[in-house]
Amino acid sequence: AVGFAAQAEERYGIGQPATQAEIAGWNIDIGRDGSNLPPGSGSVERGRVVFSEQCVACHGDNGQGGIGDRLVGGQGTLASAKPIRTVGSYWPYAPTLFDYIRRAMPQNAPQSLSNEDVYAVSAYILSLNGIVPQDAVLDAKSLAAIKMPNRDGFVSDPRPDVHDH
């Protein structure tokens, strides 16, 4: 333990130890470097099936959008007057795709896909964006290795950004 101010305080002895099994079930967040990605893999091919069965109703053919966000396209538009922000054009890290789909999609049944299908549908969306080839099979290592087109597009908060009077 380190010297944070919080460390100096009294402890109350409240709460139960979290077991490794308990943590494993809930610890679903994936680092931008792919850390915590689960075992398994999925192909663009399989992803096309998953997408057509579970995603197309909201995200449209080829991920062009519907009541759910547009997922494909827009590369090269960010500096234009009509920027189109999608997984392909805007997202900085590919592992986030696995993270988000697993936790939140399909919107009507989150956390229902197998890890394999999450890899697969992630691969399919990346392939639609031309980021992986149509025969790609993604797993923890290959997903983490992807360099997204807009990885370097983010800057830290420079505010206040208008003059003070």
């Binding site: 333990a1 380190v2 944070f4 101010a5 919080a6 460390q7 305080e9 402890r11 109350y12 409240i14 709460g15 139960q16 130890p17 979290a18 308990e22 943590i23 809930w26 610890n27 679903i28 967040d29 994936i30 680092g31 931008r32 909201c58 519907g66 009541i67 759910g68 960010l78 500096a79 007057a81 920027p83 922000r85 997984v87 805007y90 997202w91 900085p92 890290y93 986030t96 993270d99 988000y100 936790r103 939140a104 919107q107 989150p110 956390q111 597009g153 983010f154 800057v155 830290s156 908060d157 420079p158 505010r159 206040p160 950004d161 208008v162 003059h163 003070d164 009077h165």
Partner: protein, 395 residues
């Protein structure tokens, strides 16, 4: 109800006006217990959350506080703004757990009873969605349309610092990933400095337990930071070395700039204010005295001053601030005004304790363009026409 409308004119019937005895004095009213949990008057049924009727879907959506109908600084719980990404879960508090793990000495799981056993605090703070409003037309008509993703309540909970201490932070702990127990499992990373400063785990709002829409039974509160970071239905806190770069802090809640870059981790809600009365959609029914009133707030601390202009920005006067002026809370301001019946443009600008001055929309757009989406804290002027009708002067 909405607006300054109406007048001293006799009601249609006149039966209830002096010298007559109003009908509601001639028979007993509703007996005690007819509302074990009370509700507003049926005459206020128009004062509800402002929710668009034409959204493509209502699972990831927002509902706005009708700011122009409210007084003071406290938002009643029934009208607190809502923003959720997976609908409002119905959580059994007996089966809700908060897991605290990651870079800690003792990973822990807490029940709600556990959380309530810790030393508590109550503080009044605003919450504001960072997309409130966007930079592009069509702008809204009313104060609620514009900045209704804003509310203020008295929150009670335990300082996050106290709970972290229970687990023991390890060396290198720099961020905490907070995750909701909703269908979006919404996830945001909070800098450790904020977690050890004024962040709270909150279970009560205006005295009673959190409303489901505000995170029942447990939420994170990071006062002054954008609403989305105040993770609702909080189930997990993971102490980490760097932010998780979740979808909600990359794809969304980053601020696009005209050069194609985007600002990330833009947390603070900068100083802002808006006149709520008279405001868009209302009508001045009489020349003469009109109080101008509104609300000001800053994620950086206390509001120091609010200036009001009644001449389209030519000159500015200091408004009176209602005491107590609290840090990171709404502050009600007021200026007496005499409306001479001619068209006018009125607006307010907030100055916070850091000296920061609320900018104009033009100033913001000059730096950020019109596609920046978040953190628009522009001054918002209202136009009053010769009939007393009030409308959005930017629209």
């Amino acid at each position: 109800v909405a607006g300054l409308g109406g007048s001293g004119a006799l009601a249609e019937s006149g039966n209830n006006l002096p010298p007559n005895v109003p009908e509601w004095m001639k028979a007993p009213g509703a007996p005690m217990g007819s509302q074990p949990y009370g509700a507003p008057s049926t005459y206020e049924k128009g004062v509800i959350k402002n929710i668009s009727k034409t959204l493509p879907q209502y699972i990831s959506a927002s509902g706005r506080t009708p700011l122009q109908d409210l007084d003071g600084i406290i938002t009643p719980n029934g009208l607190f703004y809502e923003r959720h990404h997976g609908g409002v879960p119905t959580i059994d508090p007996a089966e809700h757990r908060l897991m605290l793990h990651g870079m800690v000495d003792r990973p822990l799981v807490f029940t709600m009873d556990d959380i309530r056993r810790f030393p508590s605090q109550s503080r009044i703070h605003f919450l504001e969605c960072s997309g409130n409003p966007v930079y592009t037309k069509p702008y809204g008509k009313t104060a609620s349309d514009l900045v209704g993703l804003l509310s203020c309540a008295e929150w009670t909970g335990v300082p996050l610092k106290t709970v972290l201490n229970e687990a023991g932070l390890q060396a290198g702990a720099k961020w905490i990933v907070a995750e909701g127990a909703d269908a979006a499992a919404l996830t945001r990373s909070i800098p450790i400095e904020k977690c050890l400063d004024d962040a709270m785990l909150v279970y009560s709002q205006n005295g009673e337990r959190l409303r489901p829409q505000q995170g029942y039974p447990l939420r994170l509160l990071v006062p002054g930071f954008e609403g989305n970071m105040n993770v609702k239905w909080l189930r997990r806190l993971k102490v980490v070395a760097e932010p998780v770069y979740s979808r909600e802090e990359t794809s969304k809640y980053t601020d696009p700039m005209p050069d194609g870059t985007a600002r990330e981790f833009t947390f603070y809600m900068e100083a802002k204010s808006i006149i709520t009365r008279p405001s868009g959609g209302q009508k001045l029914t009489a020349k003469g005295f009109q109080e101008i009133t509104g609300i000001a707030w800053s994620g950086h601390g206390k509001i120091k001053r609010v200036e009001v202009s009644v001449d389209d920005g030519e000159s500015w006067q200091d408004a009176t601030l209602q005491e107590p002026v609290l840090t990171r809370a709404l502050t009600r301001f007021r200026l007496p005004w005499h409306w001479d019946g001619t068209p006018a443009v009125i607006q307010s600008r907030a100055i916070d304790e850091t000296g920061y001055v609320q900018p104009t929309l033009a100033e913001l757009v000059a730096v950020r363009g019109v596609n920046s989406f978040y953190h628009n804290n522009a001054i918002w002027p209202w136009r009053i026409d010769a009939n007393g009708e009030v409308s959005n002067a930017q629209a």
